[in-house]
Symmetry: C2
Subunit: 577 residues, 2 copies
Amino acid sequence: MFMRYSKLFGKTVKEAPKDATLTSHKLLFRAGYIRESAAGRYFLLPLGIRVQQKIQKIIKEEMDKTRAQEMLSPVLHPLELWQETNRDKATGYELMKVKDRREAEFALGGTAEEMFVDVVRKFQISYKDLPFNIYQFSTKFRDELRARGGLLRVREFVMKDAYSFDADEDNFKKTYQTMWDTYTLIFERMGLKTVAVESDNGYIGGDYCHEFVVESDIGESRFLMTADGKYVAHEDVAKFTKEQENIGEEFKPLFGMKAVRGNKMEDGVILHKKPLWQQIKDVLYEDENDRFILVIIRGDLDVNEMKLKHLMNVHELNHAKEEDIRSKLHSEPGFISPVGIKDKIEEGVELTIVCDDSMRTIRNAYGGVNEKYRDYENVNIDRDYSADIEGDVAMAEPGFLAPDGKSVLVEKRGIEVGNIFQLGEYYSSKMKNATFIDKDGKEKKFYMGCYGIGLGRSLATIVEMYHDDKGIIWPKSVAPYQIHLLDLSSKFKVQSSKLVAEEVYKKLLEAGIDVLYDDREDVSAGVKFADADLIGIPVRLVISDRNGDKIEYKERNKKEGKLLSLEEVVKRLTPEV
Amino acid sequence: MFMRYSKLFGKTVKEAPKDATLTSHKLLFRAGYIRESAAGRYFLLPLGIRVQQKIQKIIKEEMDKTRAQEMLSPVLHPLELWQETNRDKATGYELMKVKDRREAEFALGGTAEEMFVDVVRKFQISYKDLPFNIYQFSTKFRDELRARGGLLRVREFVMKDAYSFDADEDNFKKTYQTMWDTYTLIFERMGLKTVAVESDNGYIGGDYCHEFVVESDIGESRFLMTADGKYVAHEDVAKFTKEQENIGEEFKPLFGMKAVRGNKMEDGVILHKKPLWQQIKDVLYEDENDRFILVIIRGDLDVNEMKLKHLMNVHELNHAKEEDIRSKLHSEPGFISPVGIKDKIEEGVELTIVCDDSMRTIRNAYGGVNEKYRDYENVNIDRDYSADIEGDVAMAEPGFLAPDGKSVLVEKRGIEVGNIFQLGEYYSSKMKNATFIDKDGKEKKFYMGCYGIGLGRSLATIVEMYHDDKGIIWPKSVAPYQIHLLDLSSKFKVQSSKLVAEEVYKKLLEAGIDVLYDDREDVSAGVKFADADLIGIPVRLVISDRNGDKIEYKERNKKEGKLLSLEEVVKRLTPEV
């Protein structure tokens, strides 16, 4: 492919949009790769689509190597399918819906699990057909509340989504590992070093999943890991070792006391002159069904709402209002206690007490009495209160002990560029006829997984990782062109190089090399150099009278160029077969 | 690429869906290329996407040769853009709309003129940047009332849509001709012989356009052409020579007479004993604004409603109701007359009289009097009535004289696989800032064109043109694989050919040849042959003990195969460089 810059649609501009804060947003805009249509919805300009196609090609090649099969599903999904799995509700506002003229309802696909199960169940699948992994590149929609700058979090994007069908968990584990390895390789080929981070499955379902994250300070994914990389988990799901505190202490008698203090945890510490960890932290939520959920957790820990949602199987959690705490629970903000609260609450009010398992690591705790300015000391689980549900709802923090009980967790941030999900029978059990005929002639549910990569997100992440203050520095594998050919003959400074440049351009095309040729006559050498740096093509060739019959060959990521003959240039650029 | 048929997702089935009537629908379903999701919305299975990708590659190659530049626009178009050109109303029910959580409204793109103008006007375009032609491959939506069988008329499909920007009409004409030639070539490369048919622009706008049509009896496009192919036009727009009839006759006095007759044209002919062409045909419509439109046309011609809509600039035409003819126009169905009707109508009722120019080819016509059982004879335009609007609103029919006044029109049917539109300043005048800076420093409106090809429609059309009673016969250029390799060793008939087949498979892959390898062990040779014929890959290779160390090489469109050595096979198949 070849392109004369004079005719390229989407030339460079000096200024990025005022609201652009991220480097990739600014550079992709200025260099002429993207333009915004509406918030979070982008045009890919001719340079931009070329990079996205390179990314797509890498993904396709590696997916095909694993014997995954590309296909294509409609973008509009019959809403009945999402109702079959109840996901029309679970995904909430992120799902866009549309009605056609005959009042048939469709979801604008965000992911396509139901669609792929639906097409698979149209066939009689036998164990001999398994396993298979089918995937597509298609437009996806997410009605995000906030669309971040540029291509990093958008409302519409092209995604590669794959869905695997295995006979059972053992077979699936091989598929999962293959996809894990493939993802690592795909991102490597794009120049991205990824970490597989255990993560939350959001509205996808299933038991476990991993985000592929590129470490970056601008990333939205916060995760915790051990120095040796053996444990890596998103903050939403990260586990840690809750060390035992004073568990050897003898039980002391519960007693109430006057406690004129503020509502904060440190007020309790000061008043009781005891460690923060010995204090009971009570956090009261209301879920989407107006049920109150009282979470009891060790004072030095925080509640992880994602863990809590999963434990309780709820979609929405809001902090309870102060007036409700008083009128409905007959308790007092800042003085809530699990002790006796169930006896106090208004009739008809539902309250579930959830206890983080950290409460098993302390003894003789202190905290409120459900009355203003009164506290208990020596509160003990089982003796003084009991929980409806016990589990891990604590937020891991850097410095905490890893689950192995030895390593220390450190905190990282990164950009999620892909993810892989175990789905198990989550979909095949909810959807009818999602079965295959096994060896014994019996119908068996598919054991599934799914695997996504956002192409635009990958593109922007590459720019975040590969740039300098002058512009983008594309890795060769995804660069829009291999060569940026500059002819310095301008109408401002007449040179005889024009003919040479045209000749070089022709020769490079004949050699099958992708060239962007800056043939403009009305801009200065300085502008051409600056544009080349901004656009970020890996190799710049300069044709100038100053260079005699040599061509200046300079790599974007190097300071100095060298003078080469055309033959040497072609030799350097011809792809190794 | 390579695929073992045992692992292919989307195997053949015996029965097509009961409602499938078209050959392409039946064969693509049975052979495992497509499955329906909802009516008019299709999955492309792994075999199907491979064909579509071949089609896409051909289109891209030829578009790129013309220096057109691929890019990508969002699928959801801000509705404001469609409002800017008023197309949100013009397209009516075919346009689907969706609201996001912030109540922003979007159109699901059916075509993307506004989007492309919108992205272009985000740049400062100078005359030096022109011309350029930008295009995309993207999902399009049409809320069709009826979705025809298979991929021929669907509600969601991938389309290549291109939009050209020129400085003026002279330059545009070159672009239009280039696209004309390119389309002819693109379809030729797919194996489709197309005719460029002058056609109606529908809701696209502009002054002229052409459909690229593949002649076929199942096609929805009816068009008329001369034997020499110099005039080819869709029935919606086809012109013809309206020969003068009795125009030399002297004017005779108008007179009314009793006319006890039926409401049909032939009833008038019988009663008056005069030719059909001398009778006035009155057709009364109501438009979307409740205006009545009375069309007067020569008795032997029919009204072309598409021409009428354009002439009147209306979107909807319904035949007037009998009771309205009586109560609002004080006339009588079957006896309507332009003579004096404007004096009779109810106050507040709007009536426009449209006269087909065929009325200028006859004299002393006969027809109704706006009263039951009364007719006029010797009605003459200008003398007895006048029209608000005169023009050509007649339907061309086979046998009519072509516009050249010499050739005869013949009728054809065909499938529209692409179209090209002159848009002129239709969009650039409606949309703000759709301008470039011309040489003289002044802002000038873009002169535009647009160009579409439906990929799925092309795919199905190829099947309509290339099949026999056993299945599809793909042209090489679009076949999903080059080779269908059959190993006849089955568990029903043990053979030693299995190892040979695996070896051949490996060799073909090494030679870079795309192979679909039927490695199934549990089906008979007969089933494998039938499947190969159904799937339609151009070359079938059979490995069988019966053939010794030779391989049977048979082309899908030939009856007999021949025995070749592996080396000969590879040589035959290696693509010429």
